[in-house]
Subunit: 193 residues, 4 copies
Amino acid sequence: MNTSRLEAFSDGVFAIAITLLVLEIKVPPPDTVLGAELLQLWPSYLAYVVSFLVIGAIWINHHAMFHHIVRVDGTLLLLNVLHLMLIAFLPFPTAVLAEAFHRGTDEPIAAAFYSSILTVIGIFVNAMWRYAAHEYRLIDPHLAAKKVRKLRRQFLFGPIAYAIATVVALVLPWLAVLLFILLNLFYLWPRWG
Amino acid sequence: MNTSRLEAFSDGVFAIAITLLVLEIKVPPPDTVLGAELLQLWPSYLAYVVSFLVIGAIWINHHAMFHHIVRVDGTLLLLNVLHLMLIAFLPFPTAVLAEAFHRGTDEPIAAAFYSSILTVIGIFVNAMWRYAAHEYRLIDPHLAAKKVRKLRRQFLFGPIAYAIATVVALVLPWLAVLLFILLNLFYLWPRWG
Amino acid sequence: MNTSRLEAFSDGVFAIAITLLVLEIKVPPPDTVLGAELLQLWPSYLAYVVSFLVIGAIWINHHAMFHHIVRVDGTLLLLNVLHLMLIAFLPFPTAVLAEAFHRGTDEPIAAAFYSSILTVIGIFVNAMWRYAAHEYRLIDPHLAAKKVRKLRRQFLFGPIAYAIATVVALVLPWLAVLLFILLNLFYLWPRWG
Amino acid sequence: MNTSRLEAFSDGVFAIAITLLVLEIKVPPPDTVLGAELLQLWPSYLAYVVSFLVIGAIWINHHAMFHHIVRVDGTLLLLNVLHLMLIAFLPFPTAVLAEAFHRGTDEPIAAAFYSSILTVIGIFVNAMWRYAAHEYRLIDPHLAAKKVRKLRRQFLFGPIAYAIATVVALVLPWLAVLLFILLNLFYLWPRWG
């Protein structure tokens, strides 16, 4: 399988997962005051925004990595399928997070569950890059060794940050959610120079 | 990231969001008269048609804009992700609108909620174009300055019309829904000359 | 907009609508005998098969038509959006059909509702082809006039057959469902010579 | 229709079906202990992993086959539509499997139901390849006869293994689920040499 095919399939999964997030937001039932109900759904809106930014950032990350990968072998294909398995799973921890903040109980468990999934996703991102870049196995042979090492360090940042956020979540779930937003906005934020 | 990749991903989100709209229409429960129930679902059909036209028009608009954009930078990418975040959210206000008209109460809130989301989408469309077109930052350098200004004026029409519709919705929700349909049919309507 | 873009977007809607059909099949609730429940779901399986064949046939039909269309204008774009609006709606009449056969009442209404949607889809197919082919407005100028007329006659078959099936459905809903299957299998069936 | 169009549509259905799997995992209801509930959902996670690997393997298999197929005719198109009909159906047996293991009853029926769908999918895979490869009808004329026979034998493995798993499921449902995972991991596992 060539890289463009794998990227197109992955892009499809990213686009579908990101668009399915809205299905977790349920319309208020009859016999309620609609205006008040729409306001009370804020945990669902918050979870939607967080996961949209998360999947958006992972998608851009995936592209940045495959910009340098020129060949696909069986191992990378398997790692990519397992990576997508976790991406496509994200609507569930998103809904759990919204539910916990809506209840007003169990936020630590919900935020730690969410964060731990992101940690595992980050580990797969690193596994993919390290496997592909090892002795230039599947990457562009003209890529500077310095750049390869720089990317390896950059990819490490994600799972470490999310592992810390998982611990934070157990104590201060609100701070963890704030971290999710800041980490992804920071990642998505344009850089100059 | 190049423009064709960004457009393909955006097209995916548009196609999925537009096709998910139908999931908000629920099958009548057992022990009801099916014919009567299917007729009573008219608010769901109406909301479906409105949102399908809305997303269709935004999709065509997105293409028209990217026809002139030749490069993508980090800022435009972030603006586009935020733009898609609101598009993918549309099935929810659509379901809320249908629910309010089905209940026969709270239509003003529901229509204003729907309309305000469209206003924000329109603001992002303008932000994307103004950012990309500013001093020909990301657009085709051969595009006539007159055409750039004309497009800027055209893109302004959307959010202004929806902001007015939001105010109208609070007083005359029915008129606002009629405005949504007319605005989008007018936009989608073929032009000659 | 060029034809390949419009076809890709349409293909996306077809693929999503066809894959969403399964969401209408609900898992049996707890405290039931699973084996018996899975058998009792036959109306859902039947409706799934019918709609899968229907959307599959419409998809192939759409391709056959766009094989000859070389340009898109605003009118064709609008007709195509309205055409897709009805395709994406199909999971709902599919679920209604399954529900009616599951209840054992209201099958005539459900089958006629389903059939009437297909009739309207067929009318849009004809409108698209007639508009595009009129004086070779948007079609390949090298297409033989005889072939244009032949396609026009072929496209007429669908809405006429479904209009008849709508009337049949009101009296013999079972026969109508059988007609849906036969019409689409006949359409999908390979031809030689 | 050319092969790339058919592959793109099939890829769309694969990507959507694989991403819809998560919708079957329901958020725990209010007034429960979230941590305990998330653990009790293990049958849903297990079913999700199994079906993700299954669809991933079928997707890679589909590509491997179409790598050698150079033309599409009506029969192959029909076989492919019927093949996709079963792929898109998979979220339902997946949910049934999770439900049965969650209940703690009816696992044999659920696992046999799941396995029998995979058996039929495998039969269609074989039908597609045998039809396409018969006297080099639709495949690359330069493909070695030895390779054609080798692929035919390889494709036979799937439905035979799943037919055996169906029988096993009726007696030892747990072993059948283990077989599903092992068979697909084995298939997805990289090969060398």
